[in-house]
C-alpha cells in the first residue's frame, strides 16, 4: 500500500505521457500531433519537478530563517527544456504552414497519397 501512496506521482505522469504519445502516433492531423508532442513534453516536466520536491522544503531562494530548500537542479534543467521545447514547436508549426501551402492539406494520409502518386 505504501507503494501506491509513494509512487502515485509517477503513475499520473505515465498516464499523461501515454496520452500524448497516443496522439502523436495515432492521429492523422499534423497540428494535433504537435499538440500531443507538447502534452508529452509537459508531462516529462511534471515528472522531473515532482522528483525534485523535498518534503517540508521551500522554494530554492535563499532567505533568512529557511533551512531546507527544494533541489534546484531539476528546476534548471526544466527551465532550459521548456524554452527549447517552444523553439522546436515554433519551427514545427512553421513547417506545417508550409506543408499546407504546398499540399493543400494537413492530414497525414492525404499527404502520403500525393507523394506516392508521382
Amino acid at each position: 500500500m505504501s507503494v501506491l501512496i509513494g509512487h502515485y506521482n509517477y503513475w499520473i505522469v505515465i498516464f499523461l505521457m501515454m496520452a500524448g504519445l497516443y496522439v502523436v502516433i495515432a492521429q492523422g492531423n499534423l497540428v494535433k500531433k504537435i499538440v500531443g508532442l507538447n502534452i508529452f513534453q509537459a508531462s516529462v516536466f511534471i515528472l522531473f519537478i515532482s522528483m525534485g520536491k523535498i518534503e517540508g522544503g521551500t522554494a530554492p531562494i535563499v532567505k533568512e530563517g529557511m533551512s531546507l530548500y527544494s533541489n534546484p537542479l531539476p528546476h534548471v534543467l526544466i527551465l532550459t527544456a521548456i524554452v527549447v521545447g517552444v523553439a522546436t514547436t515554433a519551427l514545427a508549426l512553421a513547417l506545417v504552414v508550409r506543408i499546407n501551402e504546398a499540399y493543400r492539406s494537413v492530414e497525414e494520409d492525404e499527404i502520403h497519397e500525393q507523394d506516392q502518386s508521382f
Partner: protein
C-alpha cells in the same frame, strides 16, 4: 494609415492602452530582479514579447511594425548572442576559463554579479526579439495580397 476607431473595438483599445505600459514595466522588473526573486532573462523576454504582441493584436500590424522593424529585431537578437559570447571571451582573455565570472572585476563577488547581470540582459534581449520575430513571420504570412 491608422485603423479607424470603431465602437466594437473601443473596450479592447482602452484596456490595451492601460495594460501595455505596466506589462512592459513588469517585464523590466522581472529582468532586473532575477537575482533576488523568481524571474530572470527568459521570463522577462517572453513577457516583453507578449506586450508587443498584444499591441499588434489590438492596433493592427502596421503600427506595430513601425516600432519593431525587421532590422531592429534582427540586430537585437544577434546583439544578445554576441553579448553573451563576449562576456565569456572576456573572462577567457583574463586568464580564467570560458564564462568564469570571477575574474571580471576586482572582487570575486562583484565579478559574479556583473557577469550574471550581463548574461541575463543578453538572454532577455534575444528571447524577446526572437519571439516578436516569430510572431511577425506568422502574422504576415496570412495577409492576403
Amino acid at each position: 494609415m491608422r485603423p479607424p476607431i470603431q465602437p466594437h473595438n473601443l473596450v479592447l483599445r482602452i484596456a490595451a492602452k492601460m495594460l501595455i505600459p505596466p506589462i512592459l514595466m513588469f517585464a523590466l522588473y522581472v529582468q532586473f530582479h532575477g537575482e533576488t526573486g523568481p524571474g530572470g532573462g527568459f521570463q522577462a523576454g517572453v513577457i516583453f514579447a507578449a506586450a508587443f504582441i498584444l499591441y499588434a493584436l489590438v492596433f493592427g500590424i502596421g503600427l506595430a511594425r513601425a516600432v519593431a522593424t525587421e532590422r531592429l529585431l534582427r540586430v537585437l537578437a544577434s546583439l544578445g548572442m554576441l553579448l553573451y559570447i563576449t562576456v565569456g571571451l572576456a573572462s577567457l582573455f583574463s586568464g580564467a576559463n570560458f564564462l568564469d565570472y570571477d575574474v571580471l572585476a576586482q572582487e570575486r563577488m562583484e565579478g559574479q554579479h556583473l557577469g550574471i547581470f550581463l548574461t541575463e540582459l543578453s538572454i532577455g534581449m534575444t528571447v524577446a526579439a526572437v519571439m516578436i520575430m516569430i510572431f511577425f513571420a506568422f502574422a504576415e504570412r496570412g495577409v492576403r495580397p
